[in-house]
């Protein structure tokens, strides 16, 4: 009954489903089992998006609230929104850019406020400059893969996914594969530097 439950979150259009697909294919390449539950349709239009990735001995598509082991999020607000799906103490890799919902007259919390509230609940927040770093690497849409690289470095995924499998999955499933592989490696490197400090 070994399993790893990953919550992916963000805003429609940020590449969450692509990220899930890369992870799933990497699990396949690594010889494992995987289930990915996606949100399609209306919510893609700039709405809040969550994708459930379940790896290992699992049957059902959705991670129950309080059962996720890890989150990768491309937006801090969405990270906070879907943190209910995580176990206490889980790691949350989140991009540092907030995309404000385009609703007139609403109050947007700051990154610090969000991080603080999550840390208070005992989560292990890693704020990642994924979008910025992906841009630097000439692949502004690669933030999702940068986050994957960063989280991979921590080792939490290693038991289920080989690094070569990720490289292979990127190659087979993404446009501009070489650029994305580069971004993945930068993500890893960033984490190595940042997290071992």
């Amino acid at each position: 009954m070994k399993s790893l439950n990953i919550v992916l979150s963000g805003v429609g259009g940020q590449g969450i489903i692509s990220l899930a697909n890369v992870i799933a294919n990497a699990v396949l390449e690594s010889g494992g089992k995987v289930i990915v539950a996606e949100t399609h349709g209306l919510s893609q239009r700039g709405g809040s998006v969550i994708v459930h990735v379940r790896i290992g001995d699992v049957e059902a598509p959705l991670i129950p609230p309080g059962n996720g082991d890890l989150m990768l999020s491309l937006d801090p607000i969405e990270a906070a929104r879907y943190s209910v799906y995580l176990k206490k103490g889980s790691m949350i890799f989140v991009d540092n850019n907030i995309t404000p919902p385009p609703l007139p007259g609403i109050k947007i919390p700051s990154l610090d406020e969000i991080v603080e509230s999550l840390e208070k609940e005992g989560f292990d927040i890693i704020v990642v400059p994924a979008v910025d770093e992906a841009k630097k690497a000439g692949n502004p849409l690669g933030a999702n893969i940068f986050l994957l690289g960063a989280s991979y470095q921590t080792g939490i995924l290693k038991e289920y996914i080989n690094e070569e499998a990720i490289i292979d999955a990127i190659r087979k499933n993404l446009k501009k594969p070489e650029k994305n592989i580069e971004v993945f490696k930068r993500g890893k490197k960033w984490a190595e530097e940042r997290l071992t400090r």
Partner: protein, 649 residues
């Protein structure tokens, strides 16, 4: 979307969306005809088949005008002796209900599988309805796969069942089956099979439902139903029991319910303790299997997605056969009846029934103490609908009428949110014109304005429009023509002239259709031109007030995502806009009243444009009273053309 993995090498293992696995299964079975109208969560089945058809030259695949036409076409195809598939979302079955009922009387020659993609939890739907009731009501068997893991097998079994009984079969999937990706092993595809044509052999005693035939067919149908029930009791692929045969507890796990039950029982180490009955073909109720498994149990637990359909039928059966067990399910109040199931709901049910103390999936939820803004889906930056809503609202003000905005199903339903709030009713496909018809005659202090998309117009708008002309309903109809079925992912439709197989189709004109149906006042406007829109809407409203007849305006402008995609293909890109800080007065009109998601307010209230989000539509430049917006470079005319004319491939 192409979903290329649908054509994975035989023998290979690939990650596939449940819907793509359905398409693959249909191909492996040898489906030769597939029709559909797009609708979440069903769309990808036909997208994948469309891709396959373009590569392999078969099967015949079409996007039909609506689900009724799609099902009728599939019935027609099946009567020629080939296997046919009609795919739709759950509410699409409502649209197709009339041929659905008839199909059970007529039967089929080849095979006919009707996909009903239900959407518990309403991820992208106006309601939640459990279409297994249709199976019971219409006497059509229902196959309900146990998760995406079983998608491919289940659709193949559904086809076999249909072929064997010469009877239509409903394949009921749900969002979490259709939109879940799992690893699937690809089998062989026989290309000759999927490309084959049928031949129609006349048999009016079966195919013409005049009363004298239908009465006989009804008798046969009721008899057949019992036989299919027996058959389903024997179908070990779809329906089987596992675990301890002598357990005092039976878990009846229907469709996806099986995955929930199995994972929970495994976590609690109970897989070998209780008896687990997997039902992936629950309608007609496989009575003998169920009775056999129920006999002597003390507790029977039902796990099913939707209404307590199988639980209810089973209890009625148990009553007749004196099965006396304690029942736990939705009908008994032990499981919630709304929304979709999750592991913790099912664990709670099992914990109650089995008196479990420990739980594995029902952890306390951690909610960070921070107020988060909602993030509903919004009209994209550059969406032509934003410009139309803006222009329409101004025209309504100028015409001094009180409007009723009868909305419809499509991206424009997002106009319900602030700042526009210009969708007063959203009922179902075509409901805009239909409700406006009633309101036009039932009250006279407000003017109904029906707002309907291009794909929806051809799907369900035509009879309503004919009605408005015939019964002279004073109303304005606004057709938002963005050159595609946008919300479901940019499928073509009759107004586009591109077919699902990529071969040329004929492009219908909304203007001609409206005029052909007798609308006397028909105009086309450029959706991106706000001043023109305001003027034309105003004049149309004046016409409605004066003539007490319907007027129709087609607001034409491509979905900006289509335009961007078309531009990428030919190397044409939009020029983003920027704000001239000297001119901006911080009035906020652009980011409040117009509410483009690419425009933000700076701390001083002045606007700035997020250039990653800006699509260069130029709408902001039109609405700013101070001319503060300007393109950063010259806008290529080719881009302006794409904004008006892009369409799906």
């Amino acid at each position: 979307m192409a979903h290329r993995e649908v054509l994975a090498e035989p023998g290979s293992r690939v990650v596939m969306l449940g819907n793509v696995a359905f398409a693959r299964g249909a191909l492996e079975y040898g489906v030769s005809f597939a029709s559909a109208y797009p609708g979440t969560p069903s769309t990808e089945i036909t997208e994948a088949l469309s891709y396959a058809s373009r590569i392999l030259g078969g099967p015949y695949v079409e996007w039909s005008a609506n689900e009724k036409v799609a099902l009728e076409a599939a019935i027609g195809a099946a009567l020629t002796g080939i296997p046919a598939l009609a795919s739709m979302k759950h509410v699409g079955v409502n649209v197709a209900a009339d041929p659905l009922f008839s199909s059970a009387y007529m039967g089929v020659e080849g095979a006919l599988v009707i996909v009903s993609a239900d959407d518990p939890g309403m991820w992208s739907s106006q309601n939640e309805q459990d279409n297994r009731w249709y199976g019971i009501h219409a006497y059509i068997p229902v196959v309900e796969p146990a998760g995406a893991q079983e998608a491919k097998t289940a659709i193949i079994e559904a086809f076999k069942l249909s072929e064997k009984w010469k009877h239509p079969v409903i394949l009921r999937t749900t969002t979490r089956v259709s939109h879940t990706r799992v690893i699937v092993e690809a089998g062989e595809i026989d290309i000759a099979k999927i490309k084959r044509k049928g031949t129609f052999v006349k048999n009016p005693e079966k195919y013409t439902l005049v009363p004298v035939h239908a009465r006989r067919l009804r008798e046969e149908l009721v008899e057949k139903w019992e036989k299919i029930s027996n058959d389903l009791s024997q179908n070990q692929v779809l329906n089987h029991a596992e675990g301890n045969p002598d357990s005092e507890t039976l878990v009846v796990a229907i469709g996806l319910g099986y995955r929930y039950a199995k994972e929970i029982l495994a976590a609690h180490g109970l897989l070998d303790n209780v008896r687990l009955l997997k039902l992936s073909a629950p309608v007609p109720l496989p009575k003998s299997l169920l009775l056999n498994e129920a006999e002597g149990r003390e507790k029977i637990i039902f796990v099913e997605e939707g209404d307590p359909v199988i639980e209810t039928l089973s209890k009625a059966l148990f009553y007749d056969y004196n099965v006396r067990a304690e029942i736990y399910g939705k009908g008994t109040g032990h499981l919630k009846k709304t929304g979709e199931l999750e592991l913790h709901h099912v664990e709670k049910l099992l914990a109650k029934a089995l008196e479990l103390e420990k739980t594995y999936f029902s952890h306390a939820m951690i909610k960070p103490d921070i107020k988060l803004p909602p993030r509903p889906p919004v009209l994209c930056p550059g969406c032509p609908y934003r410009a139309v809503f803006y222009a329409l609202r101004r025209a309504v003000g100028k015409a001094r009428i009180r409007p009723i905005y009868n909305g419809d199903i499509g991206c424009y339903s997002l106009g319900v949110n602030p700042p526009f709030q210009m969708q007063d009713t959203i009922v179902e496909m075509g409901g805009s014109i239909g409700l406006a018809n009633g309101m036009a005659h039932a009250q006279d202090d407000k003017v109904p304005i029906a707002i309907i998309g291009d794909s929806t117009f051809f799907h369900a708008g035509l009879p309503g429009l004919a009605n408005a002309v015939y019964n002279r309903s004073p109303m304005l109809v606004v057709v938002l023509d963005n050159r595609t079925t946008a919300m479901t992912g940019h499928q073509p439709h009759p107004g586009i002239g591109v077919t699902a197989r990529g071969v040329e189709g004929t492009e219908l004109s909304i203007v001609d259709a409206a005029k052909g149906l007798g609308v006397e006042y028909v105009k086309v406007i450029d959706a991106f031109n706000i001043a023109e829109g305001e003027k034309e809407f105003y004049e149309a409203l004046e016409y409605v007030k004066k003539e007490r007849k319907p007027a129709l305006i087609v607001a034409k402008g491509a979905c900006i995502l289509l335009a961007l995609a078309a531009g990428r293909r030919i190397g044409v890109y939009p020029i983003v806009y920027r704000v001239d800080d000297d001119k901006c007065t911080a009035c906020g009109l652009c980011y409040k009243a117009f509410n483009c998601p690419a425009i933000y307010s700076k701390d001083d209230g002045k606007a700035y444009i997020n250039e990653l989000l800006c699509t260069g539509c130029g709408e902001c430049a039109q609405i700013c009273p101070f001319d503060a917006f300007e393109p950063v470079d010259e806008v290529p005319p080719e881009w302006l053309r794409l904004m008006r004319e892009a369409k799906p491939t």
